[in-house]
Point group: C2
């Protein structure tokens, strides 16, 4: 699918990590297809996760009482959000597919990636009322979570120690991505690379690369609750 | 319950906000009871949400390949985590009850509070294998989420726009707090203060203060899935 644009939002501290390998192989495979690939390497960028007054570049709508949601919404309409937010928003607008590559921290994204969601996907840019779910602003774009876990696959089942993985994926897939209109592709879950052999890890990386060969043919999932 | 210790982990940028009022009334009511109340005001502290190499104070267990989980676990055992993490851990160890006061961001805690969870509640300090859920390290302590929402109560029901609130509360209550052994008290949800009248907001603050009068008599909830 030459000409397609992909944004990889990537959160790992160590370039040689398993997450780093998954990010690298995705860049390689998608570039080989002729896609243009942009990576937001959040730790390398020292990306700011905190939603603060600094995110508003210019006068506050209400200088007496700071409401982040209100100010970000107004600033979004006036394009007066902080530079780093605008830069990320531009990448999202250009992308046909956004891949989030991260290790699971407390059944969710690491704080640095949560901060990306909190700050970049603000009202007025990603959604509005009306303008969410099927009419979310990113209708026509696709998104995919590619995550690694500490625990084994069995632990994330209904009878496992942690519980059904679909419960926490729901929050990100339906509650965040689809809320903004993204069509969500099935999550790529690489279970417990830290407990796997080198051979098994290579297999997981290869299976991700293999999947990406046909990624543009995939149908979005129905991301309602299990 | 004179003598009890309470930690309020608080995430709002504006002291005069509704979240600020809930935090203030909790401080007042619990102090009135003779409890000792500590507040971690995350934005005021400019709390660091990013989990990085800087969190390890001393030599890495593996300097060639940085794994945050591995290094934080080892550093936790040697008490060589960064000063700001140790400070928060000390507050948790001393507390009989931890209250998390925050506005819901993307059906979860704001990134600054997610960072507190990612960095403070590390393996070796909050849990281990074995040593989680009923044998989590904070057995005997209690925790409670007090959150505000942008949407109305109806939106967070099974047939509402966003979906059943118990699905995202499960992740924090069961997946994070109870995983560390906390006994979890029912969440205090203040719906849509931004859409409420001043009178209604006062009512919500008063009802929180009223609940806190008998907070030490409450039974923990069963925080499995709905």
């Amino acid at each position: 699918m030459a000409g397609k644009k992909v944004l990889i939002v990537y959160a790992h501290q160590e370039p040689r990590s398993f997450n780093g390998s998954l990010k690298k192989v995705a860049e390689e495979e998608l570039s080989r297809q002729g896609c243009s690939v942009t990576v937001s390497d959040l730790y390398a960028m020292n990306f700011e996760p905190r939603a603060t007054r600094k995110d508003i570049d210019g006068a506050f709508s209400n200088p007496e009482f700071f409401s982040y949601a209100v100010e970000a919404y107004e600033a979004s309409k006036k394009k007066s959000l902080a530079r780093d937010i605008l830069d990320e928003q531009k990448k999202v607008l250009e992308a046909d597919l956004v891949i989030f590559q991260f290790p699971l921290y407390w059944l969710s994204v690491p704080a640095i990636m949560k901060g990306w969601m909190d700050r970049v996907l603000c009202q007025g840019f990603a959604f509005d009322f009306p303008g969410f779910h099927d009419s979310g602003f990113f209708k026509g774009k696709r998104a995919l979570l590619s995550l690694t876990t500490g625990g084994t696959a069995e632990m994330y089942t209904k009878t496992g120690t942690i519980g059904d993985y679909r419960n926490f994926l729901w929050l990100l897939q339906y509650g965040v991505l689809h809320f903004c209109g993204f069509e969500v592709l099935a999550s790529q879950i690489s279970y417990a690379p830290g407990l796997a052999t080198e051979e098994e890890r290579k297999g997981m990386v290869a299976s991700w690369a293999q999947r990406l060969k046909n990624i543009w043919m995939e149908e979005p999932i129905n991301c309602t609750l299990p």
